[in-house]
Symmetry: C2
Subunit: 102 residues, 2 copies
Amino acid sequence: MTMEKCEKQAECPIENLLKSLSGKWKPLIFRYATTGPMRFSSLLRQMPEANKQSLTVALREMEELGLLERKVIRQKPLHVEYHITDHGRALIPIFESLEQFS
Amino acid sequence: MTMEKCEKQAECPIENLLKSLSGKWKPLIFRYATTGPMRFSSLLRQMPEANKQSLTVALREMEELGLLERKVIRQKPLHVEYHITDHGRALIPIFESLEQFS
DNA sequence: TTCCATGGTCATAAAAATCTGACTAATTGA
DNA sequence: TCAATTAGTCAGATTTTTATGACCATGGAA
């Protein structure tokens, strides 16, 4: 299983990356992230067609990819903030190129 | 239906594009395409884990996106060639940036 | 001490993507 | 005329992704 995954990565380096970046909600989440930190609940409000589970999964995967950072804010109204990382910001010009392309 | 699609495109321009470019076989097909024209049968041979149906679907979608051009070669051994288009070639540097990114 | 908001998890269901094996259509060489 | 090659199509099965609704954990306010 692990070997297979490695072989495939070797065959086509962007295959896994493209898969990680696509998915139904990630591009939209990424867009919101570029405009500032966001809460889980505000994401749900801004994306009324999405559901908790899918957002959770998407956020986790984007965290694992190093695009987002999760911060628990232990203050006034206890909540969680997701911030774009420097690595995530490096993706912005690439996405802009993609927009130009299409 | 059509309206919904338009709204979604407006919300996130790269969402549809990323979806079109990902998929299980497209990135690999694109790689092969950059190295020269390819036949349907040779693709099947080079990608033994893929199946006809999926390759057909992927090739059609890449054709519709304007990445590939399908040419029927009415000669010696009758066959079909898929060539990368100029528009497709414009994607190469973007994919290289993506490789750098990951 | 109970209630509410926030930010989740979990099992299951529905939908979408992918695979399989059988079949077809056009051309060509024997 | 018959078989082989190439490039598919098609119906149905399997796998993966996404959605749903119920439930849980934490902290603070009343």
